[in-house]
């Protein structure tokens, strides 16, 4: 009787191992990341990410292949405002990240109806600071909450879109929705940036940035996420929006050919 129970336990353990191994295949192995474009962030993240070698390949502490960047393509990133009044700062940060993801391809910006009544529509006059021009931006305005998730998923599934930005109230998002977005993003290799006011929900994200406005032309940005493991330097930066690398060309690991490949 004892032996039977032990055998059953062994079988269960083996099954569990097999299941874990098969799930491991689905865990995203990000092999493409880009820099944020802010010199302090990129410098700190590049220096302090612990690396170790296995079979001649470098891996970072979180299991990803180590590169200089943090923002992974084909993933879901969140930009959260520190308080509801920091939403414009979060919008600006998201616009900057979107322009770096998309480079020259179209960016789809989706705003839910509640978001529009709370903090308004993005305005072209202010967006020009982030190198987004009117030709590139496709704006989904005042989408009802019931259609918001559908719209984001449709936009994310199209490989000819550069980047998708979704601004909504956090109650609209759930763990299941973000996991779905992650899978869609991975399949089409395009990124989603979610912009929300402060919230306590757990979402499946690759990186989470908290932004607060700090006076004229300054932001306080904090990074949360897997990359925190093993970091010793503070993951909080005070950025000047004039730090945006205006003069240097945007470099990405892959050339722009990956969009059209």
């Amino acid at each position: 009787m004892e032996r039977l129970r032990a055998n059953n336990r062994l079988i269960k353990i083996q099954k569990l191992k097999k299941l874990r191994a098969s799930l491991q295949r689905f865990e995203p192995q990000f092999d493409e990341t880009i820099k944020t474009g802010f010199i302090p962030i990129d410098r700190d993240l590049a220096e302090n990410e612990p690396k170790f070698e296995i079979n001649g390949n470098a891996y970072s502490g979180s299991g990803n292949i180590a590169h200089n960047g943090v923002l992974a393509l084909g993933a879901v990133h969140a930009v959260e405002a520190q308080t509801i009044h920091d939403m414009p700062a979060a919008t600006g940060f998201a616009a900057h990240l979107a322009s770096r993801f998309a480079h020259a391809a179209p960016i789809i910006w989706a705003q839910s109806r509640a978001a529009q009544s709370e903090w308004g529509d993005p305005y072209l006059g202010g967006l020009s600071a982030y190198r987004l021009n009117a030709h590139q931006l496709w704006y989904m305005r005042a989408i009802p909450e019931s259609e918001f998730l559908w719209a984001i998923e449709e936009a994310l599934g199209c490989a000819e879109v550069g980047c998708v930005v979704g601004a909504c109230m956090a109650s609209n998002l759930t763990m299941r929705a973000t996991k779905r977005f992650g899978l869609t993003a991975r399949r089409s290799r395009r990124s989603l940036i979610v912009v929300t006011p402060p919230h306590q929900q757990k979402l499946a994200l690759t990186s989470k940035w908290q932004v607060a406005a700090d006076g004229k032309d300054h932001w306080r940005v904090r990074l949360q996420g897997r990359f925190l493991n093993g970091f010793r330097t503070p993951s909080e930066w005070r950025l000047s929006t004039q730090d945006l690398m205006a003069d240097q060309p945007i470099t990405r690991l892959d050339d722009v050919g990956s969009f059209y490949g």
Partner: protein, 521 residues
């Protein structure tokens, strides 16, 4: 000759169309007239029967009519409503026959329908006339109907015949038409004048004159009309609703009562339509879906596409999304027994770079089909006004400096010299919100303000930036805004606001209001 004789034409004439449509609720028996502005004041365009009996007629001035009949009810002429209901009536009449045409004589409202071969479906010609006139009189529309072999004869009898419903047997045109007045021949006004001057009052006077003499005096028209009326010259009905070239029709064996069944049938029909389109090398730019219930009520909607497409999957997906958004529910008592899917607007598939492609190629060098398919899906489900592009516009007023352009709007997006991002916010509220402000009069920046029930203390301010409404708009009354003074404020916690004072003190208004308009990053 035989073919002509076997045609049967039904003409419905509406002697009081304008008054019937303009005010169906006017009590019977009360005089009522429709007026429109004319050169010398307001003139009556049409009057109803009781008013005609009293002595009013079209063309009278309203002042005179009011003097004659003080209790006359009047309404302004709404040409749009008249035309629209006329078109709707023609569409309704097409349930009896697809060949429904409008009248070509100005000033008369009537429908010409070719009912050869379909009268037996409604129980015979008399029964058909009964049905039509019953339905129309229930809608308080007075109608006279006549069936004859030729358009000319039917028209004449319907407008000038002795009875309200006339069904003329084959071969009796001569006896029926001769006693009618000459105007029944649909002649132009000049010819009618001439006839009156010569004393030719009835058709029998005209029909007796030799052909060459008629042509010499009156021209070809009168001879043509005579021949058309008596059947020697053929005349075709110009159908109003042309059946589209690309149409797929499906009639299921049992009426459908479930939306999912409808969707299933529509998907099959999409495949058939796609075959039709690709055979001709064309793509659909618009899809019209019509569902016809067993009680002949119609449900129709249309989907526009940004680029011509003949792909089954794309069209089927658009239709599914639209049906889901419309959230239709079918009445269980009446199922759907006919489905139509047609493509009224098509374009050749291998056209060069289409306009839409040119628009997108401004943003990226190589955009393929997937992006326009995505646009179609998003617009189809959310609506065209919810998927827009931001287009800068030359205007000082900030909320008009950016206009939202739908994807069907083909105006190019201009590169307007924008303000520096230092002076313009990143977020703009759709409606500026009123706030309470403590500020120095007359032109000081705010020290403190209350917005959305919270108090904000200002640490620093810059401005004012004065934006006046465009003088060319205020001069014509298009704008009633005041001059705005915009301030960029920063509060103690580092958040930055963009608000304005609406109006200058003492110059424009005594109590200008303050509004919150936007936020800086």
């Amino acid at each position: 000759m035989d073919k002509l004789l076997s045609r049967r034409i039904l003409v419905l004439s509406f002697p009081n169309w304008v008054t019937d449509i303009s005010a169906p609720r006017v009590k019977q028996g009360k005089p009522f007239g429709v007026y429109a502005p004319a050169q010398a004041g307001l003139k009556l365009v049409a009057v109803n029967e009781p008013a005609k009996e009293i002595g009013l007629c079209a063309g009278m001035s309203v002042v005179d009519a009011r003097a004659l009949v003080p209790e006359l009810e009047l309404q302004e002429l709404d040409t749009h409503l008249i035309q629209r209901s006329y078109a709707l009536c023609a569409r309704w009449a097409s349930r009896f026959t697809p060949w429904v045409g409008f009248d070509t004589v100005p000033g008369h409202y009537s429908l010409v329908m070719d009912i050869s071969g379909c009268a037996h479906l409604f129980g015979g010609e008399r029964a058909l006339v009964e049905i039509i006139t019953n339905i129309l009189s229930r809608r308080m529309i007075s109608v006279r109907a006549a069936i004859a072999n030729t358009i000319g004869a039917a028209w004449a009898l319907s407008h000038y015949g002795a009875y309200e419903h006339i069904v003329l047997p084959v071969g009796c045109e001569y006896e029926a038409l001769l006693p009618l007045p000459v105007a029944a021949l649909r002649l132009p006004a000049a010819s009618l004048d001439l006839c009156a001057r010569f004393g030719l009052r009835q058709i029998e006077n005209v029909a007796g004159i030799e052909r060459s003499a008629l042509t010499r005096r009156f021209g070809k028209v009168i001879v043509q009309r005579l021949d058309q009326a008596f059947g020697q010259l053929s005349e075709a009905v110009n159908p109003v609703v042309e059946p589209p070239q690309f149409r797929v029709q499906n009639t299921p064996l049992h009426p459908l009562i479930d939306m999912s069944q409808v969707v299933h049938y529509l998907n099959d029909m999409t495949a058939a339509l796609s075959n039709l389109l690709s055979k001709e090398g064309r793509g659909a730019k618009r899809l019209d879906i019509t569902l016809i219930r067993t009680d002949k009520a119609r449900l129709s909607f249309s989907i526009s596409m940004s680029q011509p497409s003949d792909l089954t999957s794309h069209m089927a997906r658009l239709i599914d999304d639209r049906i889901e958004r419309l959230n239709l529910s079918l009445d269980g008592a009446y199922g759907i027994d006919t489905l139509w899917l047609d493509a009224p607007r098509t374009a050749p598939m291998d056209m060069g770079q289409s306009h839409f492609e040119r628009i997108i190629s401004q943003s990226a060098p190589k955009i393929g089909y997937a992006f326009s398919a995505l646009c179609d899906r998003l617009v189809g489900r959310l609506g065209a006004t919810h998927f827009v592009r931001l287009s800068p516009h030359e205007d000082h007023v900030p909320e008009r400096a950016v206009i939202y352009q739908t994807i069907f709007d083909h105006r190019p997006i201009k590169n307007v010299d924008a303000h520096t991002p230092q002076t313009r916010p990143i977020l703009l509220l759709p409606q500026a919100e009123v706030i309470d402000v403590i500020a120095e009069i007359p032109e000081g920046a705010p020290r403190r303000f209350r917005w959305r029930r919270r108090l904000y203390e200002i640490a620093s301010a810059s401005g004012p930036e004065r934006i006046s409404p465009s003088w060319w708009r205020t001069a014509y009354g298009l704008d009633v805004g005041y001059t705005r003074d915009y301030f960029r404020l920063e509060d103690r916690e580092g958040h930055r606001f963009w608000l304005y004072r609406d109006g200058l003190y003492t110059d424009e208004t005594h109590r200008p209001h303050w509004y919150m308009h936007g936020f800086f990053a």
